[in-house]
Amino acid sequence: MRIADKLADELQEWYDTCKDIGIREYDKLRIIWLRNLSGSVKGLADDFFREFLSRCTRNNDVQAALRWLIVIGSILLQDYNNGALTHEDWVQIREIVNSSADTMSLDELTYIMQLVVEHGALN
């Protein structure tokens, strides 16, 4: 099983098993998220999780935000498999990565920036 699929499964399971999503559920989700991304930069993983939370409230669509988070997870795990993201999503990824670059490893940064450039979101 691909490592990104395992994360996707766990995130989806979280959604399927919680009834009312409140602070405690989001805390649980954050723990699942960070546990799966323990090999990646914690600051970066946290930045993306914060963006997930703000997407949940901004659009009042947890499922859509979760789909986005699953794709972000695959990128951070360097296992991206063409998950759907918009141009704005890619620009935002560049911005978030830009602000965390000094704590990232060169290979991590190379991987993500290659995807950003491929998706025309360098500028």
Binding site: V97, A101, L109, T110, M113, V117, E118, L122
Partner: protein, 145 residues
């Protein structure tokens, strides 16, 4: 019984530097150190790449890139150079051709500079001292993207 001709020869492997259409990839090597430039050129030509230009600083690199474009497939770019450094030259090349494939060549311990280059659109990086295998691996990876 098979004749000798039916067995593929060991050296039938297509060299890295040859495109699927049979022509070589065209590379520009940018480095202010003659020694390093020569080393990269040797590694590349031994795999069939065509080193179409060399430049000894960023200014020359940008000029030559514009002259050669679109008949250039990849640039290896040193970071520390006189006149114009590699990061600035990279930015100018990307400004001119947003699809430019530039691989940075960096001295050990220049992580922050390499990161700036990656954020500016460099496709990959190679750290000196150069390891033949790594040079070929990273360049091929970028070309195949």
């Amino acid at each position: 019984m098979k004749t000798k001709d039916e067995f593929p020869a060991i050296n039938d492997r297509k060299p890295d530097g040859i495109k699927p259409d049979g022509t070589p990839y065209r590379i520009m090597v940018v480095d202010d150190s003659m020694f390093v430039a020569k080393q990269i050129t040797q590694i590349l030509t031994s795999e069939g790449y065509n080193v179409v230009a060399q430049a000894a600083d960023g200014l020359q690199a940008v000029e030559k890139y514009k002259e050669l474009y679109p008949n250039i497939d990849l640039v290896t770019m040193d970071i520390t150079m006189p006149n114009m450094d590699g990061l600035t030259a990279l930015q100018k090349i990307i400004e001119f051709d947003k699809n430019a494939k530039v691989v940075m060549i960096s001295a050990l311990g220049k992580q922050d500079l390499v990161k700036q280059c990656l954020l500016a659109g460099a496709k990959n990086y190679i750290v000196k001292p150069l390891d033949r295998k790594k040079v070929l691996e990273r360049i091929l990876y970028v070309l195949n993207k």
